[in-house]
């Protein structure tokens, strides 16, 4: 079941850019004002490697940019370690805090499929309803990896 909300072509373009891994640290998507399309709301520029204390530094920025009363979708890179060495993976985040209105949350949930299917290659989804859901440690567990 879906809401029929369309994905703006701009989203797919931004995502393809993101996949190349050159410029962006993460992408934020949201609805346009009359909720007919999903659009790109923000592209966070990647810090150069030498300015970073650790690779996941910009994950905090992502969390800070999620509003406490509105819904968002996000795509970001997560860096983690496995027994076979360091890995990087993409995650798709759906953000719908309990404080958002039911209508927004419903819109988010029923339009998720449209966006997810448009973003080819993004396999792992995190359903976040509160900030602790996005704790990096539990996110990394999804990939069966560790942070250190």
């Amino acid at each position: 079941m879906s809401s029929g909300v369309k994905v703006d072509p701009e989203c797919i373009e931004a995502f393809n850019q993101f996949k190349l891994g050159k410029k962006d640290a993460f992408l934020l998507f949201g609805f346009n004002s009359n909720a007919t399309k999903i659009i790109v709301l923000h592209k966070e520029v990647k810090l150069p490697d030498d300015q970073k204390k650790n690779k996941n530094e910009q994950w905090e920025n992502l969390i800070n940019m999620l509003p406490s009363n509105d819904v968002r979708y996000a795509v970001a890179d997560v860096h983690y370690n496995t027994s076979e060495g360091p890995r990087t993976d993409m995650v798709f985040v759906t953000w719908a805090p309990e404080t958002a209105t039911i209508k927004q949350r419903m819109l988010m949930a029923s339009s998720k499929d449209a966006l997810k299917n448009a973003l080819v290659g993004c396999r792992t989804t995190i359903q976040a309803c509160c900030y602790p859901d996005l704790d990096l440690k539990s996110v990394v567990e999804k990939f069966k990896g560790t942070l250190d």
């Binding site: 079941m1 879906s2 909720a35 039911i102 209508k103 998720k112 997810k116 359903q127 309803c129």
Partner: protein, 436 residues
């Protein structure tokens, strides 16, 4: 809220959610249903000898011949559909439900209810509004098609959509994957949902629902020798001290039918159980519970007494089968096992996701302490669990209606309706294609 903007191309859809105990109806975009009425109808037949033909009709689901002959008899029947006149005692009035096991069973009766809903509750002409129905997860193909046909053929609606009630509940709490525990009147159902689709094979259902709690309450009151007198039989009563026999004058009404009496008895039991029963917040322990304050309850006839351990004993059966009385214990699943067995039927990869997204909806979950107990039970498991429920009581009872209401109000959703034209081109099978 940006509601006005979202409803840019307003479709004015209607949303109807049929449940075992009540049916909810209203306009999409509103946050509460306009009407929430019992799924029961009072019927008086002019000729008492017609009773037999009615019994046949309730059992027949697809016998066309019986249907048509029954339709002729209809002219002699008088229907009482609004909650007030349904509860008023009338001689020879049968109280019947059009829902059986959560599914629409008596279509003729259901049509009458829809007629009434459109004309009295919603005051609109169904041919101007698309209609969104919710359906139970187990709804068979044949019933979905029949509903589709009814809406287009009889009501000439411009659009129709069916969606699973559990999915709507999940969406309303912003999750596309997770396990919905729907505590309804007749069933408690655990429905795993992945990416907006119900995993049909892993749905687990148990008849431990609201009705079950009522039967157990009845048994308890019988054991305590409390005579349960519904309000309609009480003409006047005097205040009596606690535990003293009731002093009241009984109103004698002749020729009441058994089905009416049963219905009213249930209503009385419902009042009793919402006020008195409570789920113990940890495993039932007679010693601990006996020190808790007792709750006093006054029955309709004025008799009042207080309840201690018994308050906890009845709902405990939802969590611990050894508290079940008079039924085969092995045949039923308690709430915790219902959830775990449903999740264990799913793919191993998905399981942890379900455990961390358990959503509780349905009226029966409003029993005091239900959520606390569920959290307690799952704290003992090895999984990381997170159990959530809509915050307000109304939202929890109406969660699937609210989900349908929002979906139906989205301007973009109108592309997804089955339109009248599509129905006319394809026929009723279209419902299986478009509403998955």
């Amino acid at each position: 809220m940006s509601g006005g903007i979202i409803g840019g191309d307003e479709v004015g859809a209607m949303v109807i959610d049929v449940g075992s105990y009540t049916t909810r109806a209203g306009y999409a975009g509103e946050d509460m249903p306009k009407a929430d009425f019992p799924s029961y109808v009072g019927i008086i037949e002019e000729y008492a000898d017609k009773v037999e033909s009615m019994d046949i009709s309730t059992n027949a689901t697809n016998g066309e011949i019986i249907k048509s002959s029954e339709a002729e008899n209809k002219s002699n029947k008088k229907y009482y559909l609004d909650p007030l006149s349904l509860r008023t005692p009338k001689p020879h009035m049968q109280v019947q439900s059009y829902v059986k096991d959560g599914l629409i069973e008596d279509w003729d009766l259901f049509e009458k209810v829809l007629d009434y809903t459109f004309s009295k509750h919603l005051r609109c002409d169904p041919s101007n509004h698309p209609i969104l129905f919710t359906e139970p997860v187990m709804n068979p193909k044949q019933k979905r098609e029949k509903l589709c046909e009814l809406i287009f053929e009889k009501y000439q609606a411009p659009g129709f959509y069916l969606s699973k009630n559990a999915v709507l509940s999940a969406f309303a709490s912003s999750r596309t994957s997770g396990l919905v525990l729907d505590c309804g009147a007749v069933h408690t159902t655990a429905v795993p949902i992945h990416d907006g689709y119900v995993l049909n094979k892993a749905v687990a259902q148990s008849p431990l629902g609201g009705e079950f709690i009522l039967t157990q309450s009845k048994q308890l009151l019988d054991e305590m020798n409390v005579e349960l007198v519904p309000y309609y039989q009480v003409k006047s009563k005097e205040t009596v001290k606690q535990n003293e026999p009731a002093r009241f004058i009984r109103k004698e009404i002749n020729d009441l039918t058994d089905s009416y009496k049963r219905f009213m008895l249930k209503e009385t039991l419902l009042d009793f159980s919402t006020h008195v029963l409570q789920v113990s917040d940890s495993t039932y322990n007679e010693h601990e519970i006996s020190v808790l304050p007792r709750i006093s309850y006054e029955f309709p006839n004025g008799y009042n007494t207080d309840f201690g351990e018994q308050r906890f004993k009845i709902p405990e059966a939802l969590f611990n089968r050894s508290f079940l009385k008079g039924v085969n214990q092995n045949a039923l699943l308690d709430v915790v096992h219902l959830i775990t067995s449903s999740i264990n039927m799913c793919d191993a990869e998905l399981r942890s996701g379900f455990f961390s997204n358990i959503m509780v909806v349905g009226g029966n979950s409003l029993l005091i302490g239900f959520m606390d107990r569920l959290n307690y039970e799952f704290n003992h498991m090895n999984y990381k669990t997170k159990i959530s429920a809509p915050p307000s009581a109304a939202e929890r009872r109406f969660s699937s209606w609210v989900g349908g209401s929002i979906l139906g109000s989205l301007g973009t959703f109108h592309q997804l309706w089955i339109s009248k034209q599509e129905y006319e081109e394809t026929g009723r099978v279209i419902v299986d294609k478009k509403c998955v």
